[in-house]
Symmetry: C2
DNA sequence: CGAGAAGGTGACCGGGGGGTCATGTTGTGC
DNA sequence: GCACAACATGACCCCCCGGTCACCTTCTCG
C-alpha cells in the first residue's frame, strides 16, 4: 500500500537513513510525546532536518507512520492471544500487554487522547485493532468470562483509560497499572446487573479534526 | 495567605478586570486546554496582554489559580456527599460529579495527566482533595459498599481515568462515561478476591517537574 | 478639581517551532 | 570512470508564544 514500485530503486544511503529516522523517531516520540521537535528527531537520527522532511513531508506523516507501526504490533499481539484456550485469561493478558505498551510510549497516549492528532491512516489502524479485539472479546463473552454487553471497543478504550489512571504513580511504581487492571477486569466480569448504558460503536469513528470541537488555541 | 492587607486598596477597574480575566481564563482553558495562548485569554477578557501579566506574573500562575478553584469546588462537593447516609451511593454520585467536571474542562484533564504542569499550590489542592475523598471512601468501606483495600487516592485517580476512557466517544454521546463508571464501580465492590497489588500512597506526591522523567522536547 | 500613583496598553524581544530550497555531495548505471 | 539523478544539508522564512516595558489613561484621595 506504500506504493514502492519495482521500477524505482531506492538508494542505499536513503534506506539506511530512513531506518535510522524511524528508530530515532520511535524513541523520541516514546520518551517525549508528540511535542518533540523535528529538529530533535533529526539530531537523534544523526541526520539534518531537511532529510527528515524528504522522507516524511510533514510531522503528522512521520507521527502517523510511527503510530501505525505500534498499533499494528498491538493488533498482532491480539491475534496471538486469540489462539489461547482460556479466552478470559487471554483477554486480560492482552490488556496487560497493551497497557504496558502505552506506559512506555508518551506519544501513543497523546494520540489516543487527542483525536485531532489522528491521521486517517491511524484511524484505520485503530479500527483494525478494534476488529481483532472484538474477536478476542467475543470468545471471552461466549465462555462467560466477561458480561455479555462488553465489546471490543470497550476493551480498546479501557487500555488508554487504565493507563491514564495509573499515570501519576508510574515513576514510583512502574507496574501501578496492574492494580487498576484488576479493578477494571473485575468490573467486566459477568454479573446479574442491569445492562450497561451507552454501548459504544463497533468502529471508533472519532470526530473528524475539522469538527467544531477540540479547539487548540486562537 | 494571599497577603491582601487592608492598607492597600485595590482600584475598582483593577478588580473588575481581574474578575473578567478569571472568567475568560476559566472558559478558555476549559474549551481549549492548557495550550491556549495568553493573547487569546486577554482577548476573550477584553483586555490587553500586558494586563494579564500584571495580574498573574506567569501563565503557570494563572493556570494554577484556575485549577485550584476547580479542585476546591470538587473538594466541597465531596464534603457535601459526606453527609449522605448511603456511603456507597454517595461515593458513586461524587465520582459522577467529578467526571462530569472533567468532561467539561480540557485543561483540567491536561493538568491531571501531566504532573509537570502542576504548580506547588495545585499539588496541595490535590492532596486536600485526596484527604476528603479518603473520608468519603472510608465510610463506603465501613459500610461494605467497596472492598477494604480501596483508598481515596484510588478514587481520585479513577476520576481522570474513567473520563479518559470515554473521551473518544464524548462528542457523540456526552454521557458515555456513565458506562465506564458502572464498570469501574462494579470492580470496586467488596468481593472475596485477593488483595489488590500496589496500594497507592495516601498523598499523591507526584514527581517534581525538575525530575529526570517527563522530557518535553530538548 | 488637581496631583500623583496605580493600572492599562500594545509594540517589541528572544526563543523555538514546522517547513523550504539552493547548493553541495554521493551512490549508481552505463 | 563518468555523468547524472537522487539525496543530504543547514541556513533561511514565517509564524506564534510567553514575557517585558516605556508610555499613556484613569481611578482615588485629599
Amino acid at each position: 500500500m506504500t506504493g514502492r514500485t519495482a521500477a524505482v530503486q531506492a538508494r542505499a544511503d536513503s534506506v539506511r537513513n530512513r531506518r535510522l529516522l524511524l528508530r530515532a523517531a520511535t524513541e523520541a516520540f516514546a520518551e517525549c510525546g508528540v511535542d518533540v521537535s523535528m529538529h530533535t528527531i533529526a539530531q537523534r537520527a544523526g541526520v539534518a532536518k531537511g532529510t527528515v522532511f524528504r522522507h516524511f513531508p510533514t510531522k503528522d506523516d512521520l507521527l502517523a507512520a510511527i503510530m501505525m507501526q505500534l498499533l499494528d504490533r498491538l493488533r498482532e499481539a491480539a491475534d496471538r492471544f486469540l489462539r489461547a484456550d482460556d479466552a478470559g485469561g487471554a483477554l486480560k493478558d492482552f490488556m496487560a500487554h497493551g497497557i504496558g505498551l502505552l506506559a512506555a510510549d508518551r506519544a501513543f497516549c497523546d494520540v489516543i487522547g487527542r483525536p485531532s492528532l489522528q491521521h486517517a491512516d491511524v484511524r484505520e489502524a485503530i479500527d483494525r485493532l478494534c476488529d481483532t479485539v472484538e474477536d478476542l472479546t467475543g470468545r471471552a463473552r461466549e465462555q462467560g468470562a466477561v458480561r455479555g454487553d462488553i465489546t471490543g471497543t470497550d476493551i480498546v478504550l479501557l487500555l488508554g483509560g487504565i493507563h491514564q489512571t495509573a499515570q501519576p504513580l508510574l515513576d514510583r511504581e512502574p507496574r501501578a497499572w496492574e492494580r487498576f487492571l484488576e479493578i477494571a477486569f473485575d468490573g467486566l466480569r459477568a454479573r446479574d446487573r442491569a445492562t450497561l448504558p451507552h454501548p459504544p460503536p463497533a468502529r471508533l469513528r472519532m470526530a473528524d479534526p475539522s469538527g467544531a470541537s477540540a479547539p487548540t488555541g486562537k
